[in-house]
Amino acid sequence: MTFLTYLISGISLGSIYAIIALGYTMVYGIAKMLNFAHGDVIMIGGYVSYMVTTELGWSPLVSVLAAMAVCTLLGVLIEQLAYKPLRAAPSLAVLITAIGVSYFLQNAALLLFSANPKSFSSVVPIDSIRLFEGKLVISGTAIVAVIACAIIILGLTWLINKTKIGKAMRAVSEDKHAAQLMGVSINKTISVTFAIGSALAAVAGVLLVSAYPILMPTTGAMPGIKAFTAAVFGGIGSIPGAFLGGILLGIIEILGKAYISTQLSDAIVFAVLIIILLVKPTGLLGKKVLVKV
């Protein structure tokens, strides 16, 4: 029964990683850039939700919507100001700019909210469920995280496969120049991608601080790196891959913590990643790129 408890908390943590990883993977698939500031957008989402619930005293649902609105705006703004001018630049230059944005967000949060950790009260109004005479406890946050992740995956799959903007995204990801010739606006498509990714980051941020209720300017950094790992794990650029990678990473992390070592749990996660990449160099569901001479 304890194994089941760990497994469920792993899936719930994995769902949060999956939501963050989706943001990484979409931006990578379309703009071909590693957006290292994504983890810090999560942190901003957490703070917005915190401010709305504790300072303004509004309902948790409103705070989630507010966090999504602020992060969407922030994501688009970052893209317009920092990444758009570098569209033609080498990818490393964009990477460093993203790191600059990450420093900026962390230090702005430090100034606005101070370094003192804030304790976040969960936005999920559902009580824990007790099964098998209380031997198996599933927290409300865990349930909401899994459901949110499922809804997001279904929604994104629909968006990408059935809508016009989704078709544009697929086209840009396949071949930027050909898409442009066909009348797809690359800038608009990339902006929409950033908007969606950032809104997802806000949801992930609120869920993350609901499950692990300590909020600091550096809160987003480590989950950001792990979600990035998850995205690579599943094959970066692939949406089902990000989902699979996120869930697996969450499970490995929690089980590693429970059965092997608390201190080494991160090391275990990264070791599994390395092994997976050695067997499948482009991740679990990544496309194999053939090099033609």
Binding site: Y28, L34, F36, A82, P85, L86, A88, A89, P90, L92, A93, L95, I96, T97, I99, G100, V101, Y103, F104, N107, A108, L110, L111, I225, F228, T229, V232, I236, S261, Q263, L264, D266, A267, F270, A271, L273, I274, L277, L278, P281, T282, G283, V291, V293
Partner: protein
Amino acid sequence: MLTYGLVIAAYIILRILLAGGHVSSALQGQLVPITAYIVMAVSLNLTVGVLGELSLGHAGFMSVGAFTGVITSASLTSSVPEPALRLLFALIAGGIAAGLFGFLIGIPVLRLHGDYLAIVTLAFGEIIKNVVNTLYVGIGQSGLKIGMTSGNALNLGEGGKVILNGPMGAIGVQKISSFTAGFILILVTLFIILNLIDSRAGRAIMAVRDNKIAAESVGISVWRYRMTAFVTSAALAGAAGALYALNYSTVIARKFDFNTSILVLVFVVLGGMGNIRGSIIAATVLTILPEVLRAFNNVRMLIYAVILILVMLATNNVRLRAWFQRIRPGNGKTPVISGGGDGHE
């Protein structure tokens, strides 16, 4: 030659300023870290600029070198009383250990390419940080002892000393690093890297970077040259780590995390890929910059971030670059980031 001249001139100027007491104590404290970061940046440039592979775990090698250096120095305290000689041994040991790790890590890492290679180096950096965090190393009557539970469990006996105390890091480190040692390490690093780049091996490495298949088809062993560059880079980072660690009385593993790897990468990209002199200048300027901005107190890191973004935009935006070239023709100071680079005379 210009690069050596620059470093030697900077050293002499600083020595004169130090003798005259013109250097603030904050900057004096930064001198050894700056030299360590210069070595880090130059060595990372070999991987990123010359070999053309993004490494996000360079601080991991620094960590290996740092703790090997600390342990070496502590074990040799009685047998080698001369600090300068002990520092030399520590730097060599740090370099060898990191080089060895570089080789072991290189076997799986160099099978991959691009972003996948980058994420695996990140993963190794994090693993090294986590493992060092759980290590306990002590020296007692029966020599060095290593454990993973606690300092007391090492059973060091009388007169024993815990060198590395798990998450607390290395404690009671003798500060034997000096600015002069750092300066010599920079010169040695430059000598190794500039000669490597100009050698047959260096040209092979760059050929592999520019076109792997073409290089392979003219008989260049891709694996061997990629490994040469990777191990050299790791070993130098290890020496820099030993130098850095022996400048402080306590060193923790968390110091050498992802953020440090990124910081060094920023030096390399800002200085110009493959441009060794650029790395030196960027490492120096960006290490001093937060100190200079201290007047702005708590907004200094915010300003640092804004400067970083603006510099990247200014040097990489096509339109802005054209504009810069129009108003300042022949200006060679603006770091230009390009795939290749030949700024090493």
